[in-house]
Every structure is written in structure tokens, then in C-alpha cells.
């Protein structure tokens, strides 16, 4: 069992499930937006009216929150695979390897700030 203070769901199984659910939401939203853009090809008035509808706002908010959760789990997996002592020691030398925990923590903190910004920005776009 994966236990860590920085992974999203506190367990590997939970992270796996969240990654699947958010992935399916994002796939559905991507197909929806692609269909609107390439099949309907809206003018501004239609585009604005579409995002004025409550269900589109809710779907879009679900997509933004899914991006944050999905990207957090993804970045956590990548950072805990590569930004670790033995990998950095091989690639950059023992001095970098000794700083692996600090580097990984900074990477994850930067990721958290960026993803939180996306959530706030998304809400602003949808409800302004």
C-alpha cells in the first residue's frame, strides 16, 4: 500500500480510482468541446450563450476540478519516480541526490500553486 503525506487520496488505490474518474470526465469534456468547435463552429453569441447555461458551467467546473486532481496525482507520480535520491545521484551526482527531498517538495509545492490558480481562474471565467 502506498502511504505518503503528499499523494492526493492517502492511498494508492484511492489515487488510482480518482485518476480514472477524473480521466473519464476530462475525456467527455474534451469530446464535448471538440464537437462544439468543429461541428457547430459557433459565432460569439452562440459560444457565449452556451457558457451561459448552468449545465455547461457545472460540466466546465467539473473539468477544471478534474484537471487539478488528475494533474496532482500525475505530477506526484512523476516527481516521486524521478526526483528521488538514487535517480538524481545517477543523473546529476551525489550533491543533487542529497537535495532530492527538498527538490521534490519544491516541485510539488509549485505544482500545487499552479493547479490552485487554475481552479480559481476557471471559476472566475465561468462565473463572471
Amino acid at each position: 500500500m502506498v502511504t505518503s503525506v503528499t499523494n492526493l487520496g492517502r492511498s494508492g488505490l484511492s489515487d488510482w480510482m480518482i485518476q480514472r474518474i477524473t480521466g473519464v470526465i476530462l475525456l467527455a469534456y474534451t469530446l464535448f468541446i471538440a464537437a462544439v468547435l468543429f461541428i457547430v463552429a459557433p459565432e460569439f453569441a452562440e459560444w457565449k450563450a452556451l457558457f451561459g447555461q448552468t449545465w455547461v458551467k457545472v460540466f466546465s467546473l467539473a473539468a477544471v476540478l478534474s484537471v487539478a486532481a488528475h494533474a496532482w496525482i500525475g505530477l506526484w507520480c512523476v516527481s516521486t519516480d524521478y526526483l528521488v535520491t538514487h535517480v538524481l545521484t545517477i543523473k546529476l551526482g551525489p550533491a543533487a541526490g542529497a537535495q532530492a527531498n527538498l527538490l521534490r517538495w519544491c516541485f510539488q509545492a509549485a505544482g500545487a500553486i499552479v493547479l490552485f490558480t487554475y481552479v480559481v481562474w476557471g471559476i472566475q471565467i465561468l462565473w463572471s
Binding site: 475525456l27 457565449k48 505530477l75
Partner: protein, 137 residues
């Protein structure tokens, strides 16, 4: 030999076992390449999301902003390349993601299945990425 001293025992064991797993020193079969590309495209999409949110923000601001986005997309090569790049990452990441969902359902879990799936990912993503490029240009 069982009765060697601890030093010699350590040395013998250390000589036979890999000290660290150096991914760069290993062979890269096709499923490994599609897997690392899935990760790379995912990291690219973290930055790409900023582009997509900015496009959505601008497009909903006003009719002038919406129309100027359109004319920039029709004229600027750099703008086209950025949009195509983000779309390509999104397409690849989506196609490779669907493979994970298929594997969760029990399809493509064998060695041959994994290689076939990797070939399918590349073929489907390539077609969709070219199609996206055709729609932009």
C-alpha cells in the same frame, strides 16, 4: 562458499546485484516509449491548461476579443503552432489514457497485447494529430 568473511560476502553480493535502476541504461521497447510519452504529454498539459484557460477567458470576454482570437489563429504561425502543440499533447494523452481504461477492463494485459496497444496508440494519435493540424491550417 558459505563461510567467507562479511567483507568478501558483501563484495560478492554487490558485484552481482544492480546497485540502482538506471533507466537510461535499459532497452526501450515500444510500450515503454508510449508510456514515457504519456507522462511527458501529461506534464506538457499542465502548462497547456494555462493556454486553454486563457483561450476560454478571451473568447468569452467580448465579441471583439473572440473575433481577434480568430483572426490571430488564422494569421499567426506561432499561435497556430502553440494551439496545435497543446491539441497534440491532449490528443496523445487522451488516446494513451483510453489504453489504461481498456487495460483496467482486462484488455491488452499480455506482452503481445501491450505491444499491439502501443502500436494502436501511435497510429490513432498520429491520425488525430494530423487531422487537428489540417483543421487549424
Amino acid at each position: 562458499m558459505l563461510n567467507n568473511g562479511p567483507d568478501e560476502c558483501d563484495k560478492t553480493v554487490a558485484d552481482k546485484r544492480p546497485v540502482n535502476l538506471d533507466l537510461g541504461a535499459m532497452k526501450w521497447p515500444l510500450p515503454a516509449i508510449t508510456s514515457i510519452t504519456h507522462r511527458i504529454s501529461g506534464v506538457i498539459l499542465v502548462a497547456g491548461t494555462a493556454v486553454l484557460l486563457w483561450l476560454l477567458d478571451e473568447s468569452l470576454t467580448s465579441e471583439e476579443a473572440f473575433n481577434s482570437l480568430r483572426s490571430v489563429l488564422a494569421s499567426s504561425l506561432i499561435f497556430k503552432l502553440i494551439v496545435w502543440g497543446v491539441m497534440s499533447a491532449l490528443i496523445y494523452h487522451s488516446v494513451a489514457g483510453v489504453k489504461h481504461l481498456c487495460m483496467d477492463l482486462g484488455y491488452g494485459e499480455s506482452l503481445e497485447g501491450g505491444i499491439t496497444a502501443a502500436k494502436l496508440i501511435i497510429a490513432i494519435a498520429a491520425v488525430l494529430i494530423v487531422l487537428a493540424g489540417a483543421l487549424i491550417w
